[in-house]
Symmetry: C2
């Protein structure tokens, strides 16, 4: 494997952080704290610290699994923690010490564990933490928000398998075949995507039968509940074919709907279609989110999540499609994100009403030089009973 960031984008990262006076960027990924920037900037899949030496334009990786890093990462130096008594923490501190001069300014992303920063920097008392999420996180998010041609070509493999799965699920569900429970449907998708060549799921497959589709993220993600129960149901799945994941929600209408369900389904479809139409002309992403939110609120509902998000090395990648806030404090921290070529985003309006049901329709869209292109094939599936 190699890193996903392009050389051009890495240069932007170095130049921008250098202008901000940052000496080292400190990235951390661990079992309880995943940071997609690890894979993006180093190629190393998981469990490591990464130091990006801005002045000398060099990268240092301190992985938990040295052999894995040797095979997967693309960095200037891989540190073997077995060479340090006490392992990871001393290895990480010592590596940082070797990179920096006096009074180093260490840039960190927002999500890095508080304690990890404290522990590592404890060994370098004159280090200054530069916590500036509007500059550091925004920059990283911006770099990841448009995909390189190579990333898009990898993503297309995931899209292709997703579309095949949608067709096969529609056939199986409408013909009342062997899929009886939420878990049957989840396992069908999990196994079938591998037969079709996927590396694995992009995230844990989520199936909500009509008994609980009002939950936004069902817990557990798939259970033994019967899929045949009349009402609104859905499956939300992602295919990771070659490192990048798709994200699709296929909704089902099972049996006859009551008038409340009809209103939910019609509103979600309308919001979905109008949001996609808006992609043709919108300058900023929030305009697209607002079209869908206005439709949903005009119908008397409230959407408890954003309209969509980028997809890539992680399922919830930048950019995010949210309404522009009106509250002053929130507005001060807001930057309009323009629609740009190379973005790959989901459009996924949803409405969730307890004791009625939940309905979400989600497709993936690539913003190309010729405009937005819906690349997945999800649509409401009607199942007679």
């Amino acid at each position: 494997m190699s890193r996903f960031v392009t050389r051009e984008k890495l240069t932007i990262l170095y130049d921008t952080l250098e202008n901000q006076g940052i000496d080292v960027l400190f990235i951390r990924d661990s079992e309880e704290h995943r940071d997609v920037n690890m894979k993006y900037l180093s190629g190393h899949p998981e469990d490591a610290s990464l130091f990006i030496d801005i002045q000398n334009r060099q990268t240092f990786l301190v992985p938990w699994d040295y052999q894995l890093a040797k095979d997967y990462s693309e960095v200037d130096q891989v540190i073997n923690i077995a060479d340090y008594e006490g392992g990871l923490i001393p290895a990480t501190s010592e590596t940082l010490k070797k990179i920096v001069d006096s009074n180093p300014k260490i840039g960190i992303p927002q999500a890095i564990p508080y304690g990890y920063v404290q522990t590592v920097l404890d060994q370098i008392p004159d280090a200054k933490i530069v916590y500036n999420p509007r500059e550091i996180d925004s920059l990283l998010d911006k770099l990841r928000s448009t995909k390189s041609p190579q990333e898009i070509s990898l993503l297309k493999k995931s899209i292709e398998i997703s579309n095949q799965l949608v067709d096969e699920m529609e056939e199986r569900m409408t013909n009342h075949t062997d899929i009886k429970t939420e878990l049957d449907l989840a396992l069908f998708v999990d196994i079938r995507m591998r037969e079709l060549g996927a590396f694995g799921v992009g995230f844990e497959t989520l199936v909500a039968s009509s008994a609980r589709s009002w939950q936004i993220h069902t817990y557990p993600r798939a259970d033994q509940l019967p899929m045949s129960r009349p009402g609104l149901a859905l499956i939300d799945f992602g295919v990771n074919a070659a490192g990048l994941t798709s994200d699709v929600t296929l909704p089902f209408v099972i049996g006859k709907m009551n008038s409340k369900m009809e209103k939910i389904v019609a509103t979600v479809e309308h919001a979905h279609n109008e949001a996609i139409a808006k992609l043709d002309e919108a300058r900023f992403l929030h305009e697209v989110a607002e079209v869908a939110i206005d439709i949903i609120e005009a119908a008397g509902f409230k959407m408890p999540h954003g309209l969509g998000h980028g997809i890539g090395l992680t399922v919830h990648d930048s950019p995010f499609l949210r309404k522009k806030p009106t509250h002053e404090t929130l507005l001060n921290n807001w930057t309009d994100t323009p629609l740009e070529e190379g973005m790959v985003i989901t459009i996924e309006p949803g409405i969730y009403e307890k004791d009625v049901g939940g309905f979400r329709l989600e497709n993936d869209v690539i913003i190309t030089s010729k405009g937005p292109k819906v690349v997945t094939n999800s649509h409401p599936v009607y199942i007679d009973q």
Copy 2:
């Protein structure tokens, strides 16, 4: 669902933090940062902020999914983020503001995201962050390190299914049935545990055929590689039957071993058995780790991970079985952990040699009033070819 912490332990938490002058304990769980203390202290499965008001002995939950929290959590108040413009962040800050007086001292665990703490506390300029991992994290870890009778009874369901899976895998692998690849074996376990009544996997099932068993945590966790390749192979899996997870590694010896493999297998088995024997008499956990590490090092190998860890609501729960450090700085941060009734731990020595193979034998042990009891049935499985 309800919270897992007992009333007695919650009282210890309140009393201890009150003595330390902490006003509120701030716990956070999100998609990219899981904190087992969320589930442990509130019962809520995921994606929320939890404030524990120490003085008034009350708990406040700010969940992403309000309906889910209503069904799953056991707290004094659940906040609906839909009531706040801007959602999660304002809801979280406002909730904290309502709880605290002036100059509040906010206790945080080590792993909480740096930026999340900064963002929430930005709204409360006179708040003081109490970052004291040796007191806050050690206390939470200590509370979770011994399991209540209710937790042990839930865990026994996971153990029972794990043992059935070990028997069935041994049968299938030795009789050369339908399991051809790593993925076949992983999917067999993932599907079969659900047929046997499990809620799901405790963690992503890891299978390493002999082609890559020298990786500690294979990446991807299970691939299309053939299991029949001669040499050392293994499956590392966890069953989550009722909220708590088991953790078992079943190692395979496929075909004839060369002398290096024989030495690895014999050393790991010896370290495993001697560590378990040591549990009968050891006062402290590090003594158990040291028995195994000494055996492995005397044979000329190095173990790249700890000897074992607690299991529970998360697979890597406290306590941890590690060698006592000799380095002065590390020793200053070290506390001897005594073996205690109610602990449920793994014993999992392993050796990994590139181009030879990796071998890990892992069983789960409950420390009862009558001494340690090995409750899983893993052992090397020899497969003729």
